[in-house]
Symmetry: C2
Subunit: 407 residues, 2 copies
């Protein structure tokens, strides 16, 4: 049977992510990959994982392997509720749902809130897999420019006249740019939410990975400060994940929101996959119980700070003057901008021949922008490899710029 | 903010499953639960799980905790492809995608194939969480009656005139009835698929749990025998899961289909949750590598056969003559039918007071049928508890029938 004639309309919008396809290529021997968004496997706390699993299977083995509640394991939800509670943000277990990674939270929130043709404000560029997931829902993206201080919140108010359903923001060390939304912009943003009765999805996978400066209050917290009710009364839905601070292979993330939103997400999740893996949730629960996670995050910050610094030093040293790049205070990525006449996809072809990989920026962008940009990851290679890789890439860029100026 | 005014239209169709809500109630001490669809935790192969995890973390620890391909771990896909290959069903890795439990496969297949208002033929009654998932897509269900030999395939041809997009079938030990689709009906069914150019989703979570009689060829296989191409040319998409034969808490299932369908499912999965848990897949892979799974399935068959027999004996002994029930050859469930004037929900209220739980059949049905039916699970309680539970329930039924005949 020719299934092509039987697919749903939305299937025509199901595209493969070039980023994830690239992951397959970069497994070649000798390849220095600055593509992907992988946390460093050398920093996985392997011994602690083994201990945690042994403890979990010994203590709660049968429960850890059995079906569980769609909402997630109660102890884990309680821990998240406590960890994010502030005087102005009174969180209960009912404000939290565990999801199969942060990505599932994004997908389910879209399914709960977005009708076809709804408008959604996003930073341009923004997280690729958010665009992929919500494109399937048939939404229309309203892009907002950004600069070194994150999304240009002053450009949002005119767009709010178009009655968007939701704003999507990654305020800390955004993927792909590594930029952080400044506090005064956050304050303006949450005021706009209330003024225009619009919701915002705060996606914060990288927030704990800060290497310089002080943490900035979350949009969830800033928005809740404007609330009046005793319960969480928020225009913000917050999404987090253990993928970047522990291990992505367990697939455990979460959403925090007012109870009515969580209730709908739970119903959507029941239809989508019944529940997130029970064993995975128990392993994570065991690793946060005794503050191991806090200590581990300090280790990650130290290691990733060194790698980021190695990349910034190498960029200054080896990249041509015609290129510019962001200087992130945290996270895993920075973004390079080339002269407008250079295409990052063309650069990638030559770079792969020199065994160095990165992700062209075009897919992260809307409105056909970003052809001359690319994303570099600094979490998944050692400082030495980062330096070598940037050196090779600088040589490729210089030779292409020379040919271009000759041509 | 009042999120209620902001939900998508589909959110109004997001209902909570009474079955899964009931799971929470049945955790009370002293409760005998014949509700739920839980495999017996006493039969989880705990020692083998511990060995498998130790081996996996020792051998492939970093890979097992890292991001992996959306399609799933290659070795696991290869094993499934080999296990389901027949001369007429030549399967490759590309015909298999790993999903987060069988439920996610159902959801993703719906997203790939079904537009709003598309028609889908289902057995009446059928698997509740399929109805929940596809209701969100706004499809219209065309119910087909069933009897002791499964779906009445002779009733399907008139419905095919209505150009349905898909047929959904659980041919082995169906949930909730425990009935199996007879071979001659399977043959007729796959002939209809080709005649009307319509696809079928074969959902087979219970097929390995057969306690009497010989296995019947799958619809996938029967359909492929009609094909002509060297590659899999099938009108059937097959969904399986490790949840019932190993452990549901790992959330690993799969779909088998022609490559073009798998390709679309992979794209939908990338947007939905990036990938199924890597560690879970490695654990399962380790447990199938040395034929442990086959041996374990024999243990399960023996144990569940005894429990099914205990239930059938107790039903014959304790249930009133006015009730009838199915006699399944496998699986985890059977279905009881009461006289039409008795409501299973009313029975449940009195049963819960006597600390015995089951699932009323109404939610599994379409067209308002099934109010006088309920589902009994025989996999998750010991034979002794099953006998006690059926005895108590028989008493409740007899007393209600007496009151009803007096009233």
């Amino acid at each position: 049977m020719k299934w092509n004639n039987h697919f749903a309309e939305r299937a025509s919008r199901m595209t493969r992510s070039a980023v994830r396809e690239l992951l397959k290529l970069t497994a070649q021997p000798g390849m220095i990959s600055l593509a992907g968004g992988l946390p460093s496997p050398d920093l996985f706390p392997m011994e602690r994982v083994k201990e945690a699993i042994e403890f979990v299977l010994g203590k709660a083995g049968k429960r850890a392997l059995q079906y569980g509640e769609t909402e997630g394991v109660a102890e884990l939800r309680d821990w998240i509720a406590r960890d994010f509670s502030r005087p102005e943000v009174p969180l209960k277990r009912e404000n939290v749902v565990i999801t199969s990674g942060g990505q599932q939270a994004l997908d389910l929130i879209g399914r709960v809130l977005l009708n076809e043709n709804d408008k959604v404000i996003v930073e341009n560029p923004t997280y690729l897999a958010l665009l992929s997931a919500w494109r399937l829902l048939g939404v229309q993206f309203l892009p907002v420019r950004s600069d070194a201080n994150g999304m240009r919140v002053d450009k949002i108010e005119p767009l709010l006249q178009q009655k968007p359903k939701l704003i999507y923001a990654v305020p800390n060390f955004q993927n792909p740019q590594g930029t952080t939304l400044a506090l005064e912009r956050r304050v303006s943003l949450v005021e706009l939410l209330r003024k225009y009765d619009v919701g915002l999805l705060e996606d914060n996978p990288y927030g704990e990975l800060r290497y310089d400066g002080e943490p900035v209050a979350s949009l969830l917290e800033l928005d809740a400060r404007l609330g009046t009710s005793g319960d969480l009364d928020s225009n913000v839905i917050y999404v987090g994940t253990f993928s970047k601070v522990l291990m992505p292979g367990l697939r455990v993330g979460w959403a925090i929101a007012s109870e009515e939103v969580i209730e709908k997400i739970v119903r959507a999740k029941q239809a989508a996959d019944l529940q997130t893996g029970t064993l995975s949730q128990y392993i994570i629960g065991e690793m946060i119980r005794d503050q191991f996670l806090e200590r581990h995050i300090r280790v990650l910050r130290q290691a990733y700070r060194e790698r980021r610094d190695a990349m910034l030093v190498a960029l200054d040293r080896y990249f041509p003057n015609e290129a510019s790049w962001t200087r992130p205070d945290g996270g895993m990525f920075l973004m390079v901008t080339l002269p407008a006449h250079l295409s990052a996809s063309d650069v990638l072809k030559q770079a792969l021949e020199r065994k160095i990989a990165f992700v062209p920026g075009e897919e992260f962008h809307l409105d056909g922008m970003g052809r001359n940009t690319f994303r570099l990851n600094f979490s998944n290679a050692t400082s030495d490899l980062i330096e070598q890789g940037i050196k090779r890439l600088g040589e490729v860029l210089k030779s292409m710029l020379t040919s271009a100026s000759r041509g």
